[in-house]
Symmetry: C2
Subunit: 201 residues, 2 copies
Amino acid sequence: MADRVAGPEIERLIQLLARLPGLGPRSARRAALHLMRKREDLLGPLADAMALARERIVTCSACGNIDTIDPCTICCDVRRDATTLVVVETVADLWALERAAVVRGRYHVLGGVLSPLDGVGPDDLNLAGLVDRVSGAGLSEIILAVNATVDGQTTAHYVTDLLAHLDLKVTRLAHGVPVGGELDYLDEGTLAAAMRSRTAF
Amino acid sequence: MADRVAGPEIERLIQLLARLPGLGPRSARRAALHLMRKREDLLGPLADAMALARERIVTCSACGNIDTIDPCTICCDVRRDATTLVVVETVADLWALERAAVVRGRYHVLGGVLSPLDGVGPDDLNLAGLVDRVSGAGLSEIILAVNATVDGQTTAHYVTDLLAHLDLKVTRLAHGVPVGGELDYLDEGTLAAAMRSRTAF
């Protein structure tokens, strides 16, 4: 109906906005109206920022991160610990770890997890790149920072097997009670893991 | 932190996306990553759609609607009933009524509601335009389709007073139980209004 009202340009803008994660058809309309009310402040700058991103953004050929340079800022950063490689599922996970500032090494982005149900096999992930990278460099530790989901853990096991012939320390993130978490709200799996991995106080 | 990781272009894109209604900092990051993963499918087309909107979108000088032509598609539509004018608060409300296809006349967008607490007075709304428009044309009915909020109803009263000297039928939307609504979940105000305006069955 709305294209009768507002013209095909606006309708197309709404349809494209609705494809962003977190926006449905209704919130996409609200976002479009907001953009059109803030033509100079927001619509213009956002159009320019997107055009610039489309032009400049590249996937890092070394680690799979997204950046405006290849290799990416992290891979180029000589202050980073070259002996540690953190394997993550997605760029979003890489960003989350960077925000927490807990990684001194570099990353390797798999681009997903093994998921037989969704038809994602080893060939769909950036695994060949990982083996190449690990074989060549003077690495001492591979940290598997994958999600604590079934698919994530399956992937972690697969990667461990893949790297078994190399003499490398392979570690994974600790499982346990999240900081600030209340036991009452946690699932049995988390509580069991936290109990198993309890440490001296 | 993230600009250390991803470069200023991506950081700026995230900041701008976070200013859309319905997206916070976290979902803006997710949206940015989604856009960058779908560079050809989504980022490019959305950048183009926004650039086109910025260039083409105008506010209708007659009614205040947003469109790519001025007067807007609705004001130009000769099949519309020229004797009825529907007064709405925002373009979003106009779109909602058009989606419901319940208006045969034309619209007048006030651009907000009177709200002393927020410092919105009569001069901030498109009221002068309304008086001009109503005085000239051969209108027979003004429908006040404002929200059933305190500010909306205050605005409705103000508009009614403003048009009192003209010999015009001024109506407002009915209040009552929403279609599909359950009484148990409705507030007392709605139930009282529904009871007062009960109709023969």
